[in-house]
Amino acid sequence: MTRSRVFLLLGVATVLAAAAPLGCRRSDEGKQVIRVTRNIGGREGFRIHFEAWKATFEKQNPGWTMELVDLGNAEGSEFYKSRIATGDLPEVVMTWQLAKMLADSGHLVPLSDDYYTKFGIPAPPPYKGKRYTTQSGTQVQGIAVNKKMWNDVGITEPPKTWDEFLAGLRKLKAKGYMPLTYGGKDWTAHMPLAYGVATNLYHDRPAPGQPSLTQRRDQRKVLFATEPTMRVILKNVIDLLDEFAPKGCASDGYNEEQRDFYTGKAAAWIMGCWIGGDVEPNKVDFEIEYWPIPTMTGKAPLFLQTSEIPNGWAITTSASGEKLGKARAAVEAFYDAEVYQLFLNGESQVGLASKVPAKGPKSTWPSAQKFFDSMVANTATYGTTPGFHIALDDFPPQNFMVTLGAVCQEILAGNRDMDKLLKIIDDEWDAGRKGE
C-alpha cells in the first residue's frame, strides 16, 4: 500500500465518521430565526400565548420565525449561564431577576425609552442607568382557594392573620377535605417560607436612602440566625407543614399540586397568580378565589407583587446586525393587542401598557373569569408589597429560593432544630454571593 493511499483511506474514514454527526437533523432550517426563551413547563396558557406571539411576529416579518426555547419549569439561570459560556445566548430571553447577571456580563441590549412610551408602559427601574426589559404586567402572589369548601366551613372572607388561616385549615380537615396541596419535591417547596420571608421581613418598603434587608444582610448587619422575626416565620411554617403537608408530598411537585387543585380535591394552594391562566385549559368547573397572604407579625394581609424589578423579556447581544431589528420587532409584537391579551390571560396578570387595549386577564370560561375578577378586586382591596422585588440590588442571591425549598424539605423530614435550619439559610446566602 502506498503512502498516499493510506492517507486517502484515513482521510475518508475520518470525514465519514465526522460527517455523520454533522448531518444529524436539526430543526428549523430555512427561515431566519429569532430564538425566544419561555418557561412553558406544562402550562397551557403560556403555550397558547407563545403560539399567538410567534404567529403575529411571522405575519409582521415575512421570512422570519420565532423559535421557542422551552425552559420547562426552571428559571433558566442554569441555561443562560451555559449559553453565555458558549456565546450562544438566544436572541430574546425572559429575564426575571436575572437581568442583573445578564446586564453585568454585558449580554443585554438596552431598550430605548421610545419603546416604553410607544406602548405606555411605566418604564422599569433602570439598572445601572439602562433599561432592558419588556416589563410585562403586574404579577401578584397570594393563596388560591376553592370557594365552596371554605364556604362549607363558614369562612367567606380571607383570614386576617396566619393563625386564623391555620384555624381555617383545621376546620377544613375536620370536615374531611384536603386542606392544602403542597409539593415538597421541586421548586414549589419554597413557597410558604418565601411568602413568610417576603411578607414579614420585607413588609414595608424601606424609606429612601435606607437599605433593604437584603443589603443589610449583605453587609452582615443582620443575620437570619439572629433576626427574631425570622424565627417567628420559621416556627409558623413548621406548624403549617407539620399539620397540613399531605403525606408523601416530599415526592410531589408542581404537577401534582396542579392536579390536586384543579380537580377540586384541595381547598387551598399557596401559589402565584399565573395559575389563573390554566383554569380554562383544565376545564375547572368550580369557583376559585384569590386571597391575600396573612402575615405572621400582626400586619394586615396583602399580596406579594413582583413587578417592580426589571422583568419580562430582553434582547441579548446575540441579536446583531439584521437580527437586532428583528429582535426588537419580536418584543414589539409582544404588545400587539391580541398577543398581549393572551399573555395576560396565561399569566393571569393585570396589564401595565396603557396604550394597549388589553387591560386585564379575560376568559369566556366562567371559572377563569371569576378567578381573574377576584384577583383584581382583592388586590385593590388589600394592596401589595414588593417584598424583595424592590430593585435588582435588593434581590437575594440566585440560590435563595432553592435554599428556602431545602429548608422546607428539612422540615418535612422532621428537622426541628431552628438554629440549624437558619444556619443553612445564612451559609447558603454567603455561598450564593460567592458565585456572583
Partner: protein, 278 residues
C-alpha cells in the same frame, strides 16, 4: 460459556427460585410495557392488571408530541459515527503500541490507561469552554469528539489485551511480502481482532444509545435531539406525571436494545463484560 460442573445435577428447586427471582427483577420493565397500554386512571387504579384493551393512544401521543423517531435516528447516527472512529483509531493505536517497537510506546500505554479512571466531572466544564473556543459548542460534532476521546482508553485497553493472541508469524510473513506496518495491520491483524471489534460495537453502541447525562450536559437541555435527552425534556415539560406516556416513551426507546439483547444475548453479555474481565 459452559460451566465445568461435570454432572448436570438437577436442582429444580434452586432453578425455580432463581427463575422467580429473575422474573421479579424484570418486573418493573414488565410493568412499564403493560402500563404503556393503559390509560392513566387505569394505571393508578391497578398497576399490575393487564390492560382491558390494547390502547395504543400513548404511543401515538409520544410520537406526535415529541420528535422521538427523529431523535432515535440521530442517536443511531451518532452511535455509528462514534463506533467507527473508535474502532479505526483505537485498534490502530493499540497495534502500534503493543506490537511495534515505537518510541514512547510504553509511555503511551500508561497514558491511555490513565484515562480509564477520569471521572466526567473533572473535564465537564473545561471541555465546554474548549468547545466554545473552537467554535463548535453544543454541536453534534463536539459531542462526537467527546464520545470518541472518552471511549478510546477502553477501546485501546480491550484491543491491547487481545493483541497478544495474534501470532507474530503472520505479521512477519506480511512484512516479507512487502507490506508496510499500516498495510500489515489492516490486511492481517484487524480481521483477526473481530471478536474485540464486535465487543466494542456492542458495548459502545449500547452506551451511547443509552447515554443521557453527558449528552444533556454538553449539548444543553434545549437541544434535545438525541433520544434520551429528548425523552427527558418531554417528561420535564409535562402537566401531570403522565405515567402512561412515560412508559410508552420508555418502551419505545428501550425496544431496539431489548430486541437486540433477546436475539443475541450471549454476544451482548460477552461484549459488555469483555473489557472488565481480563
Amino acid at each position: 460459556m459452559t460451566s465445568a460442573h461435570p454432572r448436570r445435577k438437577r436442582l429444580p428447586i434452586l432453578e425455580g427460585v432463581l427463575l422467580l427471582a429473575g422474573l421479579a427483577v424484570i418486573s418493573p420493565c414488565f410493568l412499564a410495557v403493560v402500563n404503556s397500554l393503559k390509560t392513566l386512571p387505569e394505571i393508578i387504579r391497578s398497576p399490575l392488571a393487564l390492560p382491558t384493551s390494547l390502547n395504543l393512544d400513548n404511543y401515538a401521543y409520544i410520537f406526535t408530541g415529541v420528535d422521538l423517531a427523529g431523535s432515535m435516528l440521530n442517536s443511531l447516527l451518532m452511535c455509528a459515527a462514534v463506533i467507527l472512529a473508535q474502532i479505526v483509531f483505537g485498534s490502530m493505536a493499540a497495534y502500534s503500541m503493543m506490537r511495534r517497537r515505537m518510541w514512547g510506546g510504553r509511555f503511551l500505554r500508561v497514558f491511555f490507561l490513565a484515562g480509564l479512571a477520569v471521572p466526567f466531572q473533572i473535564i465537564m466544564i473545561p471541555l465546554f469552554k474548549e468547545f466554545w473556543l473552537l467554535g463548535i459548542h453544543t454541536t453534534y460534532f463536539a459531542l462526537w469528539l467527546h464520545y470518541v476521546s472518552w471511549g478510546l482508553p477502553l477501546c485501546i485497553f480491550i484491543y491491547s489485551g487481545f493483541m497478544a493472541t495474534i501470532p507474530r508469524e503472520l505479521e512477519e510473513a506480511a512484512a516479507i511480502d512487502g507490506c508496510g506496518p499500516v498495510a500489515t495491520f489492516w490486511r492481517i491483524v484487524f480481521p483477526l481482532l473481530a471478536p474485540c471489534t464486535v465487543s466494542i460495537i456492542i458495548f459502545w453502541g449500547l452506551w451511547i444509545w443509552n447515554d443521557f447525562m453527558q449528552a444533556f450536559i454538553l449539548m444543553g437541555a434545549n437541544k434535545g435531539h438525541l433520544a434520551f435527552v429528548q425523552l427527558y425534556r418531554f417528561l420535564s415539560d409535562q402537566y401531570v406525571k403522565n405515567w402512561n406516556a412515560i412508559f410508552a416513551g420508555v418502551v419505545v426507546l428501550s425496544a431496539p436494545v431489548t430486541l437486540l439483547y433477546v436475539i443475541m444475548q450471549r454476544r451482548f453479555v460477552k461484549g459488555l463484560t469483555a473489557g472488565s474481565f481480563r
